[in-house]
């Protein structure tokens, strides 16, 4: 051990330092955009519009947050997105475990058939226009269900849960049966309590998926009163580009600061669960790659 430390040569140390500096810069570049946005969102309109704000707020104020969070349409969108995320995740988890459980059991004769069925559409997805017309024919247009039902299940998540359930000892299931548990009760009271980790992983995947979903609401929601937060951001941040290029002067608050504040508000829930995401998603990825 001691000889090793002595052996560490000069080029070796140069490499080490360069490597740390490069990675530090990469990390910094990854973070700086948020720092700038946070600084702008906490600055007054004057410094923002004259382009003086870089990485620290100038003339610190919460005015932008007040304006954004007082805006009725944004508040409504936050509510819709939150409700969609919570209701959607619960619904998706329920659907997923109910489908994945039989798929993990040998007694279920249609196992192979169902596995092939979910894999085919994993590879060959329908073009979006027939999908859109079908959803409309079901009445899934401009209502809350349109935000949830079409994305209720994901093949990838079913596979993850299925692989986990397949590892559960059959003796445990048999024991539950001897005790008189039906299949549903076995799943809910015996299997789920020991599957907390995989439930967390898959639940977070569905949750982030719902919160971030954009294409589905874009196609199926036309009513501005039902806009999710992502649709709202798209309409206020990206489509008002033209206004800015024409140099229309806004009144009181800076449009730039308001845009950044809205984006931060939409990113905060994701950042709050980020520590869990980092932990569980890595796990999910390794399960997926091993068993996929």
């Amino acid at each position: 051990m001691e000889t090793k430390t002595i052996k560490r040569s000069l080029p070796d140390r140069i490499f080490n330092v360069t490597n740390l500096v490069i990675l530090g810069l990469v990390g910094l570049i990854a973070v700086l955009p948020y720092v700038n946005m946070l600084a702008v969102s906490l600055s007054s309109s004057g410094p923002v519009d004259s382009g003086r704000v870089a990485f620290l707020p100038i003339e610190f104020t919460f005015e932008n947050y007040k304006t954004v969070l007082m805006d009725k349409s944004i508040l409504k969108s936050i509510g819709i997105s939150a409700l969609m995320t919570v209701a959607g995740t619960v619904f998706s988890l329920l659907m997923t475990v109910m489908f994945a459980y039989p798929l993990s059991r040998e007694e279920f004769r249609l196992r192979k058939f169902c596995n092939v069925m979910i894999l085919i559409v994993f590879i060959f997805n329908a073009p979006i226009i027939p999908w859109y017309l079908t959803m409309r024919s079901y009445g899934l247009y401009d209502n809350f269900w349109a935000l949830i039902l079409p994305s209720a299940l994901s093949t990838y998540n079913i596979i993850i849960v299925r692989s986990f359930f397949a590892e559960v000892s059959p003796a445990l299931i048999d024991a539950a049966k001897v005790d008189g548990c039906g299949e549903m009760r076995t799943l809910m009271q015996i299997i789920l309590p020991i599957s907390k980790a995989v439930m967390a992983t898959v639940g977070l995947m569905y949750g982030v998926g719902y919160w971030n979903s954009y294409t589905t609401p874009l196609y199926l929601i036309n009513d501005r009163d039902l806009y999710t937060l992502q649709l709202r951001i798209k309409s206020i941040v990206l489509d008002s580009n033209a206004i800015e290029s024409m140099n229309v002067v806004s009144t009181g608050t800076s449009t730039q600061a308001l845009k950044m504040t809205t984006i931060i508000v939409a990113a905060i829930p994701v950042l709050c669960v980020y520590p869990f995401l980092q932990k569980h998603f890595v796990k999910g990825m390794t399960i997926g790659s091993v068993k996929g």
Partner: protein
Amino acid sequence: MRKGSSVAAGLKKDSLWQSICKHKGLYLMALPGFIWFVLFKYVPLVGAVIAFMDYDIYKGIGGSKFVGFKHFAHFFQFPEFGQIFRNTAILGAYDVLIVFPIPIILAILMNEVRNAKYKKAVQTAVYVPHFLSWVIIGGIFTTLLSPNTGVINNLRQMLGLDSIYYMASEKHIRGILVIASIWKEMGWSSIVYLAAIAGIDPALYEAAEIDGANRFKRMLHITLPTILPIIMTMLLLKVGNFMEIGFEKTNSFMNSMNQESIDVFDTFVYRYGLQNLQYSYATAVGLFKSVVGITLLFVSNALSKKTTQQSII
């Protein structure tokens, strides 16, 4: 599939019907998921036949006229077809040549860091954007690159340069998309390589060290060759998904001024299908894209089986 399994079932144990009677609960539980896949995945797939019709929303599929490959022929003759194809090819090539190698380099460099806390901090920073939606990423870039108040142009002005309206510039927008893709996914994509590197036997490194190989040589002759199979797999997967430039990505950066440079199949379908209500035409374009995509996927899968003995799908 159904036939095969029921025949097998007849040979041993119960028949399908007996199995259903015996395990009613299991079959009932699978029913909602089964119905969901039929209604939300297979019915729209069948609905793709409107690509070969003059679909009339009031007459439905049964009442609309069958026109064969009319819409496909129309699309191939359309001047925009060449442009969309070119954009897809260019953006796809950038994805493979520039965006793809960066996570590999990042993982190899990350592996050389001995300070666990430092490594963790960098990882935490670079994973974050993966979880933000493209709309938010698009918003971040739009505001940072804004001509009057964005930080990038403020910097340029401080240095005495003219400010550039990046988001409206056909020359810059593809590069911006590439940078955004790197920023969003480089950390996350590196996980798979880091996991592969973690599986390398440390004895290999020690042996190389004794033989006098320096850090760089060890990276080149041990780390890289051992993760080469996974690199090949990921590369083929990427090639298989060549057509998937991503609707959310392009849509989040697109405006009327940069449209010509980043218009791809999915954005075209959205415009013609949803905004111009040319359902059959847009479906034909979408179907064409899917068919080319599937072909690519199967070709790269065959290549993958040949080179790495591993199937990517």
